[in-house]
């Protein structure tokens, strides 16, 4: 019974969190993004992106604290709101390079998304992260 109650609690908390995203009216990429890079057997499906904007470039980290990959290049094309991110890291002591390409969806919302694809030397797949 407890597990059902806990599940109900998690569902409620998750949904409430989804609707209590803090506003971000500055650079559209800045902030924390949570979602999935589907089919990623090396790093797992769950994806955290933390992005910042210093006025000249986008910087950030993929999966901070776990895979902890520092983003080496990230660009936003404001003509069509496409995003390109490159990062190198290590998974189980093996070097891996990721390239993420996507587009910002629902730009006007605090809970905007980046939807696109990821790829590495180990494969690729669909990508979707939502700004928190």
């Amino acid at each position: 019974m407890m597990s059902i109650i806990r599940k109900a609690g998690f569902v409620a908390a998750g949904l409430l969190l989804a609707f209590s995203v803090s506003a971000q009216e500055g650079h559209p990429l800045k902030g924390s993004w949570i979602g999935e890079w589907k089919g990623n057997q090396a790093s797992g499906d769950f994806l955290f992106l933390v992005l910042d904007w210093d006025g000249k470039k986008v910087s950030g980290t993929i999966n901070p604290g776990t895979d902890d990959m520092v983003i080496k290049a990230a660009t936003l094309n404001p003509d069509n709101w496409t995003v390109h991110i490159e990062a190198d890291g290590k998974v189980k002591d093996k070097a891996v390079s990721y390239t993420l390409d996507g587009k910002i969806v629902n730009l006007e919302l605090p809970s905007r998304s980046i939807v696109g694809t990821w790829k590495s030397q180990n494969g690729g797949g669909a990508l979707e992260v939502v700004r928190q």
Binding site: I4, A12, L15, G26, H27
Partner: protein, 370 residues
């Protein structure tokens, strides 16, 4: 099978979520064009069923007969404040009155109409007045205190009715309405020296008719220069004992900003601290002759700093100059230094008008209603 207790808990969880969803903000207060389509002019005649005399906008509900069908229309009018200033009251129209209303229809196709033209039996009932007070023919000198310093905030009165409703770089001429919407979107790049992403975002907000404005959607404070872009204005309260100036707002969420004149440091101004409200940053002021010079850092990125939706980042530093050259004029000049959103520092300036013998009017941005 779930037992009753678990079902109840699940129900409560779902209900709490749904409550959160339904109380999410709607376009309670808004630029007119954000909700209504200026190109969709129409007229309806019907019988008043109800009058909802509340902020931010008054609604009159009409039963409109079309053949044998009766439909209810919601007619949205200006704020109670402006209607009252135009000679209207909550009893100006009553249930049972037959009215003809001309206006523009809601973009979402619902039976909602924005109107500034109401007639009854062919007689105009509503004529909106411009509440901007007349400027006295003779200029009076600015009031001064015992210390000889200019008083920015006299006891009765407030500053309102700005000469510009949006930030535009000094010497640039572009046409905008009072919500900061450009008459010609191709003028966007002229407004300020925007970085490419900021220009694209500004144009996106303009193209969406400013409907995403967090000040209207979520009642967020109008931080930065936007505080001085409302007809309903501001009031300075100079607290000489504690060496600070409070700038009180009449509209929006009736917030206030504090300018510290006690020589404190700007430490902590970027990331904020307990003494830093962030929407208004951390403002440090000093007098330079008759001008109050205010430097502010530490803004968050949760608001639009100007009507019309110019973006900013938390790198923004504002240098503002407030001068009262005569009794009825407040000169406002702001230098914007934000390398996160702009290619170079830039300035804008406008004036505000003294509204004598009146307190700052109360006009909340929303009372949690559609």
């Amino acid at each position: 099978m779930l037992n009753t207790k678990v079902k109840a808990l699940l129900g409560a969880a779902i209900a709490s979520v749904m409550l959160g969803l339904v109380s999410a903000p709607v376009l309670a207060h808004h630029p007119i064009q954000a909700k209504f389509d200026k190109a969709a002019e129409m007229s309806v005649t019907g019988v008043v069923t109800n009058v909802d005399w509340k902020n931010p906008h008054v609604h009159v509900f009409l039963n409109v007969k079309n053949g044998t069908t009766l439909t209810n229309w919601a007619v949205e009018l200006e704020s109670p404040l402006l209607l009252k200033g135009s000679g209207w009251g909550s009893q100006s129209v009553k249930p049972g009155d037959t009215l003809t209303v001309k206006g523009i229809r809601a973009r979402d196709g619902s039976r909602q109409l924005w109107s500034e033209e109401v007639t009854k039996g062919g007689t105009a009932l509503l004529t909106l007045k411009n509440l901007r007070p007349a400027v006295p023919a003779k200029k009076e000198p600015a009031p001064r205190g015992a210390d000889g310093k200019v008083i920015l905030g006299s006891a009765t009165g407030y500053w309102g009715f700005p000469s510009s409703y949006a930030l535009v770089e000094d010497a640039v001429k572009v046409k905008m309405d009072k919500y900061g919407q450009l008459a010609d979107l191709s003028d966007a790049a002229k407004v300020a020296p925007l970085q490419p992403w900021a220009l694209a975002l500004y144009k996106n907000r303009q193209q969406r008719d400013l409907r995403d404005d967090p000040m209207f959607l979520h009642c967020k404070p109008p931080g930065g220069p936007r505080q001085y872009q409302s007809d309903l204005g501001i009031k300075f309260v100079e607290d000489k004992i504690n060496q600070r100036v409070f700038i009180l707002m009449g509209s929006g969420n009736r917030n206030y900003r504090i300018v510290y004149l006690d020589g404190r440091d700007k430490v902590g101004s970027v990331t904020g601290d307990a003494d830093n409200p962030l929407y208004y940053g951390r403002a440090i002021g000093k007098w330079e002759g008759d001008t109050l010079l205010v430097t502010t850092k530490g803004f968050n990125e949760d608001f639009w700093m100007s009507n019309g939706g110019l973006p900013h980042t938390n790198n923004m530093v504002l240098t503002e100059r407030f001068t009262r050259p005569d009794m009825n004029t407040l000169q406002y000049q702001v230098a914007i230094d934000d390398h996160g959103a702009y290619t170079r520092p830039w300035t804008a300036s406008w004036t505000m008008q003294w509204v004598p013998d009146q307190e700052v009017p109360i006009h909340f941005c929303q009372d949690n209603r559609p």
